[in-house]
């Protein structure tokens, strides 16, 4: 039995094509997913991301716990509302999940984790907390909350139009920060490479918000467009571009791992002991003959690699990919990708491919 978000009936009534996404019945597209993609790059689109899980960390000692549990350094969060992207690592350095943590008060941090890994993450964090003893903060999964991501150059203005009071609450938010407005939480975050908000709202109120946004001219978009947008923006997808078997240092995430500070964290020793041999890089298909897809083999002068995510980029109108390649491969190199019975040429590029409506590679 697939799990449903509180917007399931709304999606079905809109004629969405629904798919099983990690056990959730989710819209993959409503009409053309390319049109949905362009709506986000040029105007405003919205995604039901209620399958993602909000987990609040409440009580004294939250910061100290996160210093140890997260690979990124929670001490970068100095101003209430600020957010940080981080991996949760295994002791061997593999990636348990990636998440966003918001610092709201010293006794209140909010985590947002992936849908398919939520139960695993909560068990993992609970276990780490239990080892710290009785005075540790508590985890509170917020299954009462739903979430809509509104993304695009006009997203913020349309949210302000649709949600009374939201402009006053969020107009001064810098990127990667959030603010509470009663029982609503508005964050200037996203997964598309465009400006916009992710809005957490009680599940009972989410359908009204969705409909108000649609009336304000925000286009409903499915997971199909969400994937092409995040890939153009050079953002990783957990389970595809990284997982428990690979290091964040081989997943394009070295910028999120704080090895420099004296702070100890889960996985630090393993990462320090195993310098990366491979790197996650971008590919742009330069031959015609197919579309880059996950698991295709990449042949390079320094050995073979593999595509982790690939698609057709609606912005570039070419096929793009993220690929884990031998570390000696460099941007500008030409590699070959095995697609069916052919080997097609692709150029190694540094992601992102596109953000803020603009192509960034050619």
């Amino acid at each position: 039995m697939l799990k449903k978000t509180p917007l399931n009936d709304v999606h079905r009534a809109a004629g969405a094509r629904m798919v099983d996404f990690g056990g959730w019945d989710m819209p993959v597209n409503y009409g053309s997913q390319i049109d949905e993609h362009h709506a986000v790059r040029t105007d405003a689109g919205m995604f039901d991301v209620s399958h993602m899980r909000v987990v609040d960390l409440e009580g004294a000692g939250g910061r100290d716990f996160l210093r140890y549990a997260l690979a990124n350094n929670v001490d970068k969060l100095k101003v209430p509302g600020k957010a940080l992207y981080s991996c949760l690592l295994r002791p061997d350095g593999g990636v348990v999940d990636d998440l966003i943590v918001y610092f709201l008060r010293e006794d209140f941090f909010r985590l947002v984790v992936n849908a398919g890994t939520a139960d695993k993450d909560i068990a993992w964090l609970s276990d780490l907390l239990a080892k710290r003893g009785a005075s540790s903060p508590t985890l509170r999964p917020r299954e009462d909350l739903a979430m809509i991501a509104v993304q695009g150059p006009n997203a913020r203005a349309k949210v302000w139009q649709a949600l009374p009071g939201s402009e006053a609450a969020s107009a001064s938010l810098p990127p990667f920060a959030g603010a509470a407005m009663g029982d609503v939480f508005i964050a200037r975050t996203g997964y598309t490479g465009e400006d916009g908000f992710e809005i957490m709202v009680p599940a009972t109120k989410v359908a009204a918000l969705w409909n108000a946004l649609a009336s304000a001219g925000v286009r409903p978009c499915g997971l199909g467009a969400r994937d092409t947008l995040r890939l153009e923006a050079g953002m990783n997808l957990y389970g595809q571009d990284m997982d428990e078997s690979v290091s964040p240092l081989e997943s394009g995430l070295a910028w999120t791992v704080d090895l420099a500070s004296p702070r100890d964290f889960v996985g630090k020793a393993a990462l320090a002991a195993h310098p990366p041999q491979r790197a996650l890089m971008g590919l742009l298909l330069t031959d015609r003959g197919g579309v880059l897809r996950a698991h295709q083999k990449v042949l390079t002068a320094h050995g073979d690699g593999e595509i982790t995510s690939g698609t057709f980029s609606p912005t570039l109108k070419e096929s793009i990919a993220l690929a884990r390649l031998p570390a000696a491969v460099a941007p500008g190199d030409t590699v070959r990708v095995a697609i069916r019975d052919k080997e097609l040429a692709a150029r190694v590029v540094k992601p992102p491919f596109a953000r803020h409506g603009q192509a960034l590679v050619r």
């Binding site: 094509r17 997913q33 390319i34 015609r288 197919g290 579309v291 698609t311 609606p314």
Partner: protein, 127 residues
């Protein structure tokens, strides 16, 4: 879903049209294009290639996925649709107008063994 009465179909979602000159045109059904989503690449067989029934001989790729296209019957490829190289989206816009390739059947009667509209409709349900 649109399933025209005058065409024949396969369980793998190809449509087959008998042409006046004895060839057959092959495309993908409206159901198939909707399931695949926006098409961005079509790979077609070489003209002159001889294919067996149910042999994979073309590929359509949408943003989401690649999908093999099968020869519905045995025969020879006699033409491919030149419009699809530059504008694969015409398949989404009109699945029954956008033929992929034409075949000369090895057995002219073989088309009669394919699904009719009612039988194909039954395989895809009431969509």
């Amino acid at each position: 879903m649109n399933v025209p009465e005058h065409l024949r179909y396969t369980a793998s979602h190809e449509w087959v049209k008998s042409e006046a000159d004895g060839t057959v045109s092959i495309g993908i059904t409206d159901h198939a294009q909707a399931a695949l989503g926006d098409l961005v690449y079509v790979e077609l067989p070489a003209v002159g290639r001889k294919v067996a029934a149910n042999e994979a001989c073309a590929v359509v790729e949408s943003v989401k996925a690649a999908s093999d296209i099968y020869a519905p019957i045995a025969g020879e490829i006699v033409a491919v649709n030149p419009a699809l190289a530059g504008t694969p989206e015409v398949v989404n816009e009109g699945a029954y107008d956008a033929w992929l390739f034409k075949m000369k059947p090895a057995d002219p009667a073989a088309v009669n063994g394919l699904l009719d509209a009612a039988a194909y409709q039954a395989t895809i349900g009431d969509e």
